[in-house]
Symmetry: C2
Subunit: 387 residues, 2 copies
Amino acid sequence: MSPEVAVVGCGMSNFGAYSGDAFPRVESVVDDALRDAGLAAEDVDEAWWASLAFGGGQLGNPAALVNGIEGLQGVAAHRVENACASGGYAVRSALQAIEAGRCEVALVVGFERMNDQPSHRSGYWLGVSGETPWERMAGTTFPGVYGLMASRHAHEHGTTREQLAQVAVKNHRFAADNPNAQFSKEVGLERVMDSPTVADPLRLFDCCGTTDGAAALVLTSAARADQIDAEATTITGAGAASDHLALHERPSLTELSATRTAGEEALREAGRSIEEVDLAEVHDCFTIAEILAIEDLGLAGKGEGGPATAEGRTDRGGACVVNPSGGLKGKGHPLGATGVAQVAEIHDQLLSRAGDRQIADAETGLTHNVGGSGATCAVHVLERGGT
Amino acid sequence: MSPEVAVVGCGMSNFGAYSGDAFPRVESVVDDALRDAGLAAEDVDEAWWASLAFGGGQLGNPAALVNGIEGLQGVAAHRVENACASGGYAVRSALQAIEAGRCEVALVVGFERMNDQPSHRSGYWLGVSGETPWERMAGTTFPGVYGLMASRHAHEHGTTREQLAQVAVKNHRFAADNPNAQFSKEVGLERVMDSPTVADPLRLFDCCGTTDGAAALVLTSAARADQIDAEATTITGAGAASDHLALHERPSLTELSATRTAGEEALREAGRSIEEVDLAEVHDCFTIAEILAIEDLGLAGKGEGGPATAEGRTDRGGACVVNPSGGLKGKGHPLGATGVAQVAEIHDQLLSRAGDRQIADAETGLTHNVGGSGATCAVHVLERGGT
């Protein structure tokens, strides 16, 4: 099938560490997204709320928090939790509801607050989406899991510390041009490579930060998009897949099969080859994750993600610009907000309103959102213009 | 719109307290649901996983656990968490995906394990879906919140302790006929009324238990249902709504507006009046919750839920039989599994395969699933036969 769903509005908070009540940030991004769409809160038929485990303290049933926003009282509200792919799956669910004809205007909110707890609690809450009996209970954290993947990638394909570091350098450079990014300074290759080891071979600058953030999208049917005064992009392809939670149950440590399946499905639906994708927001929670992503999406052959990065093929001017927002690495990674923010970034880029980080002439973009170490994945293809 | 989605298979574990690894219960209900549908795991296009906070220990990203079931590897898998309405909202999401034409065969799994933690932890996990800043942080638990509603209902409408108790007596009587129920014995009015106070006026037997359980459904398009060798019921109406999490932000303590909205929407879509509904599985986490439910769904006027129960209008032989499964009160309430199990019960009843608890000649049934103290609600209308 070919989806007929348009993105007509988006809102993004500045990502970082918040103090005080964070709910006004949610209100603000919802307001921005609705204003961008030229719609009122009363126009929203149904809402999706993406968060992992924080949700500003409302650990269960957080979707109902939308009732705190004027005009949204009573709206049907789903919470989607697929770890760090919550946002991407929330977009998928909203898309399905619109395609069903059951919902004409959908609001998708992604929100996470990770800095309001002592760091051991924050690590606990993040860690709960790791595989439980074998990984989490043994004390393995996400840097540990991705560190294993990085070590194996180096072993199998000769990926170097320098190639990993080049992902961070590129994404921090983009983040420096993004006023909403958590990290606003460029970092040099040596600084990344000399930063303290977190989980060998990953160093501090190979890891995304601990981030508070909110993002919102307004999606609607193609028919409704034609009637309203909003600049629109179209979701032309959607794919999703899952995989075993535990690394040891997968056939490979150096490939995320959920990315492969979801990516192929989204591109097939969009009728596009990966070569036609001008820019992509991929899930770079760690530098190795971006290398895996570009390989598994087909932007580079298996084992060639490191060299492709080093050669600048994913940088400005490259065949496909990867993470022009700064990515999770530079922009920040407020878990449930990430997948929503990825779509917002591609939307803004395709509409040529991405400010200093604008990629010229981008017509086709892709978002790639991963939960855990690859246990869930959602991919969307967006294109400029109406349906 | 009119949905064209069929229920073609269901599976239910026995509800209660499990020992050892509980995942085989999930495998077993999925197996049962697929066998019931005459389909194989490989036929499933997409899966929804409903759980609140336990998920057998996999607190985040639990939807990916479906990869542990032979034949489901790689399937797109969403976790829906809307507190105790997780199951109902998961059914809604699956329905939307089928209506979208994006998914032909949907698997919905509801699972919760509440007895594998010390009771203070179990209470913690359950409590997280209470409203956070005003209720949970002040120490108010769900019995406390529903106790407030019960007190106010008594004050406004004269609802008596005896009327509350009659809900429990009826539902335990039904549960005694349900081989999967957690509580298999009838209880008398005096036993309920003399049981220890939990949160005045609610006593021990006014409260549902702490339950482990799993349930699964297979949903498909009407077209596919016609091609397979399975007895089918049709979801003819679906409604959902939300409300403020905190009681003090709502205009009334004795009405759940989310129930009203979701119920009206589902009935309108089904083209049915509430008088045409032969049986209903409603969210009786506490006895007062069933009284609120039958009032807000329109089975009784406001304030008449107590007398209606006392007069047997919701019992076998009444105008609409409420909670023939035993309800949350008698059958048990494994949070995320509850909304899924409600649909399974109505499906079995409409197909005349509900054993000793069968309600004769039931043609139209309704499920009503509430999250928290009414912050989210999903209602479905099911009818006998194909679409």
